[in-house]
Amino acid sequence: MTAPVVETPRSPYARRRTTRGNFELYSWVFMRASGVLLVVLIFGHLFVNLMVGEGVHAIDFAFVGGKWSNPLWQVWDLLMLWLAMFHGTNGVRTVINDYASKDKTRGILKTLLYLAFTVTVLLGTLVIFTFDPCPANSPAELLPSICS
């Protein structure tokens, strides 16, 4: 007669594998650095859009079109978009890691997250660089002054 095989109760709790590397270190540093930069970028953005000159009432198609024909604001908005998306996505990735207890849930949530990230970043970058401030056949009073 053989002894009954008793499954070890400890196996599910062992560390599954070692995942050493500097990725989490760089991600941690990036979160702090991008956070500081974003504070400057976002408050600069808000100040220029809402406070300077006519303030919030000046915002229309012509205002945005005029801003995006200036390389400074193209770079500013591009930086803001990329940093905010990397910062936010990394934050949500951390939240998913902390709260998803099953690998499958974790995988699905992260796939959705990275998909949303890719679409937003690609679309945003495309718009910033290919934006046409003077679309043809538009009424002149809606267009920025640079078009005439």
Partner: protein
């Protein structure tokens, strides 16, 4: 001439300690009982003294009411770290928590610590906790010949890691950490505290190896600085601070 007591010895027996009734609501789990795999609450009312600790009340239950109540304790004086449990929702040592400090007017809830598999009643399987502890190599690592005398260290060098030498491995910190609760993969505060004890020891030469081990996806970078561990530590170790110091050591090493 021998010194004698001037005044004749008065009645030195102290006034009798006040007694009161205290109710304990204990989380029970025993797969061999009629409850099966389901955990359940059991309520006991016992007489306790004002000087009693939660552990004394548990002893009274076990000795006088229900011998099947299972919990772990060894020294019973806050040194061995066996009886960490969740008392009124906070991780504490039953042997260091006075009943009068946890409001004995209401039922006191006693549960096993969270995040580790419960074996029976208040006893949890500590193996995952100790596995993380072993991983960080909690022993002195040196090179070269053994010195023929003690390894001398200045008081300043000793003070650098003094706080983290106090750990008694009771798992109160690790099992209070929400990140550890999720899947038990995180190394946990206790392992990092014990790595800190050697990383910042001037006599030890294994700091680089230990930092490499903790530079894991499940290492120090999963700490969210919620300070649950610092609040839970029965030895008053600044656990979160120690974790941040290890993080800083890693960053200065990387850049």
């Amino acid at each position: 001439m021998t010194a004698v007591l001037d005044t004749p010895a008065q009645d030195t027996t102290p006034a009798e300690v006040a007694t009161f009734q205290v109710t304990l609501k204990v989380r029970r789990y025993n797969p061999e009982s009629e409850h099966g795999d389901a955990a359940y609450w059991d309520t006991f009312t016992v007489e306790a003294h004002a000087t009693d600790r939660v552990l004394d009340a548990l002893h009274k239950i076990k000795w006088e009411h229900d011998g099947s109540l299972t919990f772990r304790r060894s020294c019973a004086h806050g040194v061995c770290g066996s009886d960490a449990m969740r008392i009124n929702g906070r991780n504490r040592l039953a042997c260091k928590t006075l009943l009068k400090d946890v409001n004995p007017d209401k039922p006191i809830t006693v549960e096993p610590i969270k995040g580790l598999p419960v074996v029976k009643d208040l006893v949890v399987d500590m193996e995952p906790f100790f596995a993380s502890y072993r991983e960080i190599m909690p022993f002195l690592i040196t090179s070269g010949n053994e010195p023929s005398r003690e390894r001398i260290q200045s008081p300043e060098d000793r003070a650098r890691f003094d706080d983290t030498t106090k750990c008694i491995l009771c798992a109160a910190c690790t099992s209070s950490c929400p990140v550890f609760w999720t899947d038990g993969q995180y190394f946990g505060p206790a392992a990092i505290v014990n790595a800190h004890r050697f990383i910042f020891d001037s006599r030890d030469e294994g700091a680089a190896q230990r930092l490499e081990i903790l530079n894991d996806k499940e290492g120090v970078w999963r700490c969210r600085t919620t300070f649950n561990c610092t609040e839970a530590c029965p030895r008053g170790i600044q656990v979160t601070k120690a974790i941040q110091e290890v993080k800083r050591a890693m960053i200065t090493r990387a850049f």
